[in-house]
Structure formats: C-alpha cells, structure tokens
Amino acid sequence: MPTIKDIMETMEYGPAPEAHAEVSAWIAARPVIGHFIAGRFVEPTGKTTEVVNPATEAVLTKVALGSEAEVDSAVRAARAAFPKWSALPGHERAKYLYAIARHVQKRERFLSVLETIDNGKTIRESRDIDIPLVARHFYHHAGWAELLDSEFPNHAPVGVCGQIIPWNFPLLMLAWKVAPALAAGNTVVLKPADLTPLTAHAFAGICVEIGLPPGVVNIVQGDGATGAAIAGHPDVDKVAFTGSTEVGRVIRRQIAGSGKKLSLELGGKSPFIVFEDADLDAAVEGVVDAIWFNQGEVCCAGSRILVQEGVSERFFDKLRARMATMRVGDPLDKTMDVGAIVSATQLGRINGLLAQGQAEGATLHRAPGALPAKGAFCAPGFFTGTAPAHTVSQTEIFGPVATTLTFRTPDEAITLANDTRYGLAASVWSENINRAIETAAKVKAGLVWINATNIFDASAPFGGFRESGYGREGGRAGMAEYLTTKWEKVGKARPAPVLVPDVTPAAKAQGSDIDVTAKLYIGGKQARADGGQSYTVRGKGGTVLGQAALANRKDVRNAVEAAGKATGWGGLTAHNRAQVLYFLAENLVQRRAEFVAALAATGTPKPEEEVDLTIRRAFWYAAQADKFDGAVTATKSNHVTMTVNEPFGTMGIVAPDEAPLLGLMSLILPAIAMGNRVVAVASQSQPLVAARLYQVLETSDIPDGVINLLTGERDVLAKTLAEHDDVAALWYCGSAEGSTMVEKASAGNLKPVWSDLGRLRKWHDSEQGQGMEYLRRAVQVKTIWLPYGA
C-alpha cells in the first residue's frame, strides 16, 4: 500500500470500483434466466447455457435456450395482445412508453452495473452512454406514439414483431427495437443474445413494474436456433435483426416470400477519414471514441483510418502517444477506458485476425502495459502498413484495433472509403467545411459524422447502405419500419402472365405494312437482344401485334452497366430532374392518341385513363422531385443533424403484367425522380408499349442510361437483377413464387426488395399506385452529424 506521500509523486489513479452488491445479489437469486411470456416469468424447461462475466471468467448464472414451443407460446401471447394494444389511442401507449423511460432512469445505476457485469463494457460507458440513450429512446418514442395518427395517416402497425438483438449494446439494442415497435402499436417477441441476457431480463421486470399489458413485450432467451425459430414463425409479421451480415443473409433467405417486413442492421468497416487540414488532436480523440469505444465491439466503429499522407506520420505519432494513456482493466473500475471483450471465444477470434494481419505484413501497434491476468482483455491498437487487399482491411475485426491507409487527394480518400462491401458509417475530419460536406455527400454510408464519431440520438435515424443492411432505427425513418400502408396486403393474387414467350414464327402482325422492330433500350440506345431472339406478342383475341426482343442475362448485365455509368443523374438538381419529368409528360401528351391506340390493341381496359394517369403521375413525381426532402433534426445542442434522402444508385424494377404503361411508369417515375437510375423489365405479356415508350424517352432529355428497358420473360430477368451485386435495390411486381425467388436471390448483396408478393395493385387508384411510400422506398436515409462552435 503506497503512502499518500508516495502517491503524490506517482500520481497514480488508484482503484475506483463501482459497488455491485445489489446487482450481484439479484443475479445470485436467479440461477437460471428464463423467458418472459404473456407478462409472466416462465420457468424454462429445455437446455441452458452458462452466463459468464467476461472480465472475471466467473459463471454468473445460466440462461435458457428457448425452444420452438417456447417461441410459439411467446408469439401466441404477442398475437393475443395485439388487437387491444394496437387499438389503444396513441396517448395511452405513450403513457406506457413514458413510464418505461422513467423507470429506466430510476434504475439507471442498477442497469448500468448489470450491463457491465454481463457484457464487460466499462461502467463509464454503460452509465454515461448506454443507459441514458435507452431512456432517451423510450421518451422519444413515447412522442411518436402520441403523434402516430397525425404523423402517419393511413398507416397501421405491422403486427407481431420478432426482434433479435446482439450482445454489444444489449439494453440499448433492446430499446431501439422495442420502443418504435410499441409506439407504432405492435407487440413484440424479442430475443437477447445468449452472451448477454441479463438486462433484458431486468427490463421485463420494468414492464411488470409499470403494468404493461401482458403479451405486449415477450422475451425469449436463447441462441441462434431460437432466433431462427422467431424469424421463421409463421405468425410473425416483421423481423428486425441486428448482428452480423452473415446471419442477416441467412434470415433474408429464410423468410423470403413470407411477406414479413424486414429490417437489418449489420456489420461495417467504416472509414475514418483524416484530412491534412484536420485538428489532429481532435481526430486522435475521435479514434478513441471510434474504435476504442466499447472495446471496438461497435458495428459503426471507424475501423479503417484513412489519413492524408502529409500528416500521416505526425498523426500516427500522436495516436501512439494517446494510446499509451488508455487504461484497460476491470470494467467496474470507474477509471477504465477499455473493459473486457464479451467472451473468450470472441477474444480468440480477434486475436486470430490480428495474427493474420501481421502475417500478411502489417505492423501492429498496441497500447503498452500489462493486461489483467484473468478475463477476456484485449489491448487497444492499430495497424500500419495495411493495404486494401489485406484481410484485416476488409473483415470486421470487432475489437479495439483499427487498420490504417494513407491517401493523397480528397478524391482518393473517397475512393478508398467506398472500397468496401459495407456502408454503415463514416467519420470525416477536416476544418474545411466544403471538403467535409463534399466527403459526407460522396461517402456511401448511412451515417456520417463530421469532426465527431459515434454520436447517437433517438431522433437521428441509424442504419446502413449496402451490405450493412437496410431499414433505419430512430426518428421518423425508424418509425416507418414498424408501420405498413393499409393497402399493401389487400390485393388479390395476380394471375400468371397470359403470354408465355414463344420465339417460333407465328402469324403476320396487324397494322402497318412496314415491319416494326421492337428492341431493348440500353444506355440511351436501342439494342437488339443479345440472344438474337424475339417473341410474338398477342393482343385482344390472340391477334399478333408484333414481336418483342427477348432479353437474357447478358442484356441485364449490359443494362446494369449502362445504368452504372449514368452517375450524373443523381447529381443533378432536383429541379433539373423535375424538368425532365415534365418534359416526358409533355411528350407523352403529344403522342397520347398513339399510346391510347396501342393500349387498346392490347385489350387494356380504359386505355385513355391509363395514358392520362401516366401523364399525371409524371407531373406528380416531378412535383415531388424537389419536395420529398430530408430534414434537420433536433438532436443535441450545437449540432446540425441532417437526414438526407439519397438515391440508391441503380435500381431494378420488374413491372406488373397488367397496366403495361401505367404499371411500368408508376414504378419508374418515383425511382428516377429521387435520382436513381433504373433497369426496368416491362410487362411480359404486353412489352410493345414499353418499346414505344423509349421513343418518348429519347426525345425527353433523359440522359443515357437513366432508364433502361428490357422485355422478355419476367422471372428470368428478375432473378438476374435480384442476384446482381451492382443493383442496389429492387422492386418486384410479379408472382408470389417470384417474390420468394427475388427475395432469396437478393441476399447476395443484401439489396432491399419491395415485392408485392404477387398481389394485384390498383394502379389507377392514386392511393395504391402513387404516393409517399413509393418515394420512401426509392431512397435511403443518410444521417449527417455536424457539431459546430467557433
């Protein structure tokens, strides 16, 4: 024991343990953590696994691994509670959410300590970050419950939500899932991670304490198999998953075609970009808050540090010096910066990747100082000498170690930043606001922090681009994930296309005596089908109308490539895009009679109405082009938090067989109004209307490649589009089987799919055939955080 005089010289911090007697007693009284179903704590019957404190390796208790039967009883409880809960006035639900928020605050110390013991994260973080954000999330969503009817007219709750959450922010992820679901009027079955079941169990206690109606929140403990049972349960209407991209893909395939709404918040390898004009000390501190936050077990962690060459050595020197002051150890000690990795297995995985990084030639810099003898501790660090091709540059380490790269110019920084399958977050450090915002605009990520990192707020949507998943949590965009438009599930089944493509010669076509050659429209040019085949198109009474090009895989490839090159479209002003849409409408008006006749020949009922509605729809989306805007959200003081609606890039569109003009254009127009380029597959049975349409497109100043039109066998082309990794989103209006097929195929790059499950839509009805849902589905929300201060 050093004397006070000694300490005056060493100026050591000494131990500062957080008391945990009450929490430990609470755990000790629970030899098995069971489920919470229909408002009751249920004694588990099946298998269990140990719950370990990763910092001490002590076995805390056991947790039940929920069986299919237990999942089923939880889903039944949620279903039973749904009618009454969803029928409550928003104000009544708001009262419950408010009470939960209050009770989280009343138990903040207990929950913080419990989270730290279970997960290994430092008490500072659970106390100052996790738990306050949990309370904030429930407060915020109490507000959405209150305002639901006025803010989301014509929407309904989805139903029973199956929610699967990870171990890195156990209670916070619970809050992100449960709060919006309940606010919107859903009931939930939630599965915590088997590594960290404790705070969810304590949360169940809060539900009891505030008198939440039984069955509104059900918690089934368990592992991956339990999660799969929840996701796959036929009576679950919505699946929300946060976790690895790998499991996200499995879930996507598992529930393909089920009609379940899906949101995925997956992995990341987020760039942390330091420009030469950055405040380097601030950026170094940013690294601390990025990759050394929560032991690096953060999906949105800035794990790829990109530094401009001229300042890289100085930056790395500063980073090394800062790293030396990081304190790693007992997470219950209030002076620790880094606690324990969640489990020994996870630590092993991290160490394996670190060894691989070194074997591939990178240099690993680690914080000096001994680690505790016991427990899953991992010293913070960073690599230098990593190249984009190295495993550690591409794979999420999910530990407190970043890779680094240097760049020469802002362009190169953006290229390197976007050289990843993921797109969750980015952090940009520059004192030049032009450069910072330019980078924020160009980086492919759902979240961008300028001169900051890892700042969260319930009102700021959180979620990724690309293989980081889709859907948002928080704010208005987050609420939309738990609501559904009332019309979407009511349509009758769509009949199979009346026309099966036949490439053999048939009867002479009616009409003009000069032969008409309908081609594909790719990159602004009419193109013959790659396969050199056309199919006979028949109209009313089976008369031959002509031949349409039969596109194949390669035509899809060419069209996607052409769309990929039309990058200027998204960069145009919304006003410019609106002008193009107005001009398109104008040209359609000029050729109205021709389209009416063409539609009439196909046997389409009310051809005049279809043409007129198409023209109106072009006007409507032209009007929306510069009005469907993002927002500036009130998050924290002295922060501008912007939500920007960004186009996906290239979208695949598979048009319905019916309404060959209106159906096709109702899908194309919102997509391009928002700045996307599209590869559209026209009505299989009536493709000649599309072939006529490209003549209008050619005269309407639509830049080459913005709209590409394919004709042919719907599901063959849809499959190629769904599988294509360079197609960022897909809308599909085909059959139920086709919906299953495209949703399954979309798992490759995890593109969001909007499929109608083979239900007919009333295209003539403006509630179903146009509207905000189309616009919302045509964009991905990017949240940009810009703290300010002179």
């Binding site: 100026m11 405040d279 940013g286």
Partner: protein, 317 residues
C-alpha cells in the same frame, strides 16, 4: 519524478508552427467534458492528489484593497496551508503552496513574510490586468517587481496584437518582457476570455512560448470568462506540440474560476492525461486560486476523520 530540467529559452519567431492551425471547438469541448467522466481518484489517492494540488497553488490576492497586513496573513497561510494535525495524520508535514501571487507594490511585504520558507513570491506586472500601459512602463514594472524580490513574474499579453493577428509584434513584446525578467520565471497570461476562439488561444500560446514564456497562463481572473477546461486543453496541447518540436519544457497555469477541490482534480487529470505525471508537479503546473484551498482543506479533514468538515475549522488565508 521531479528531475530538474533546463530553463526554456524560447525560439526565433516561427509562424509556421501555428499559421495553419485550426482548433475544432466542439471536439475540444467534448474531450474536456469527457475527462472528468473517464478518471477519478478515491480514498488515499484522492487525499494525495488534493495535497499535490495544494503544492501547485499560487495563493493569490490581487485586489485594490490589498494591504501589508492582508498580504502577511496570506503568506502565513501559504506556509501552513493545512492544519498541522491533519498534515501529520496524512504524513505530509511541511506541505506548502507553490507560491504567493500579489501586485508589484505588495512584493516587499510578501518577500519579508515568506523569508526562509522557500516559497517564491510571484508578482503580476505589465499593467495587469489590461496590459495597456506603455511598453517601457510595463518593462520597468517587471524590473521593479524582480528587484523587490519576486522570483516569478506573471505578465499579461497585449490582446490587441492577438486579436488583430500581429503575432510578430506580440512575439517582440513578450521577448522584451522575458529579458526584463532576468532570472525570474515568466508566466504569460493570455487572457483567453478576451481571445474568445480556441484557435486564437493556440496561436497566442505558441507565440508566448516561442518568445520565452516559462509558463503559459489562462487568465488574469478579471476577464468575463476565466480558465475553462477546453481552453486549458488547447493550451496544454500547444505546450505539448512545442515540447515535441523543441525539446523545451513549458509550464501551465490555469487561473480564475477554479474554486473547488473538484476543479483541482479535473485540472490535474487534464495535465496527467494530456502531458503526463511530470506536468502535475509545481515546477510545471500551477493553479491561480484563492478560495480553492479552503475547499481542499475540508476534503482532507473529511478524509482523516470520516466526518464532513466546516469552513470555520480551518484557518483563513
């Protein structure tokens, strides 16, 4: 830990070291506010840190009604900052403050009262607090204070030169002040509450160090805003950059607004985290304060007795 180091000499005027600097204010505020959440000290460690803070205090009186008697009383407190029974319980007999800081005309009284104690007398000078008297008078004032027995001189910079970007002129003035100080150590008060932006604070810090300031100091205590953690963070980072560039060590003195034991802890944590343990020692760290000592005394008594203390149990300064 407290090895001697060569007195800093300054450098030629080198604007390259600060011309393009831009301090990000929200990031500095974020770091400053997270420091106290990241570190804490308890029990014996807390007592030791508080005792360390006492050794770093420049016990200060800078008021228009200062008298010889008032200064003598302050000096007596400087010699015996904590009740003897408490010091003995803590094993810290002989603990004193870092210095006593007064106006130039009070220096002789302080020098006399502190004779033989080893506690240096610090004097403000150069037309404190505004610093707008003519330069020859300001330099003469330094020489006067040194002649009267001040071992440390707290000068104020000409804010106009900083606010209008006349860094060379500011450098030249401070250089002359440093020469006037002779062997007395010079603390350059930047009056950061007047400079307003952290970027100004960084630049002024760099210029003062280049011109030979042994310490850089935040405030006179008379500005609207005194020492804050973000300002202090900016100054110690400038100091660290200067150290890395030149190998010369410069001290830091926050002043004004530090009133509680908790403040002392926060600033010591800042020093330890940003600069290291060596910069927690009184030859490189001072706290300009008058009422802080009373709060620390109460905390130390609580540490010894386990009972919360009252102000009237401790001698007035």
């Amino acid at each position: 830990m407290t090895d001697a180091f060569p007195r800093m000499t300054g450098t030629p005027f080198t604007p390259d070291w600060f011309d393009t600097i831009s301090v990000n204010t929200p990031a500095a505020e974020r770091r400053a506010s997270s420091l106290a959440g990241r570190r804490t000290v308890k029990k014996d460690w807390q007592a030791a840190w508080l005792a360390r803070a006492i050794t770093c205090i420049d016990l200060t009186t800078l008021a228009g009604d200062d008298t010889a008697g008032r200064v003598q009383r302050l000096c007596a407190k400087a010699r015996n900052p904590v009740r003897a029974d408490l010091l003995s319980a803590l094993g810290l007999e002989g603990l004193t403050v870092g210095a006593v800081c007064v106006y130039p005309t009070m220096v002789p009284h302080a020098a006399k009262a502190l004779e033989g104690s080893g506690i240096p007398v610090a004097s403000v000078a150069t037309g404190f607090p505004a610093g707008l008297t003519p330069l020859p008078l300001r330099l003469a004032e330094i020489r006067y204070a040194v002649e009267q027995g001040a071992a440390e001189i707290d000068i104020v910079i000409t804010r106009e030169l900083a606010l209008t970007g006349q860094w060379q002129a500011l450098y030249d003035e401070i250089r002359q002040m440093r020469e006037a100080c002779g062997d007395a150590h010079m603390k350059a008060i930047l009056a950061t509450g007047d400079l307003k932006t952290l970027t100004n604070v960084y630049k002024a810090s760099m210029v003062a160090m280049q011109a030979g300031a042994d310490f850089i100091k935040t405030s006179t205590g008379k500005e609207e805003v005194n020492a804050t953690l973000p300002v202090s963070l900016t100054m110690v980072r400038a100091l660290r950059d200067f150290r890395d560039l030149t190998g010369q060590w410069v001290g830091f003195k926050p002043a004004g607004g530090l009133k509680t034991a908790k403040d002392a802890m926060n600033w010591l944590i800042l020093m330890k985290e940003e600069l290291g343990t060596r910069w927690c020692m009184p030859d490189l760290f001072r706290i300009g304060a008058s009422s802080m000592l009373g709060d620390i005394e109460r905390q130390l008594e609580h540490h010894v007795t386990g009972r919360y203390s009252a102000a009237n149990r401790h001698a007035l300064a």
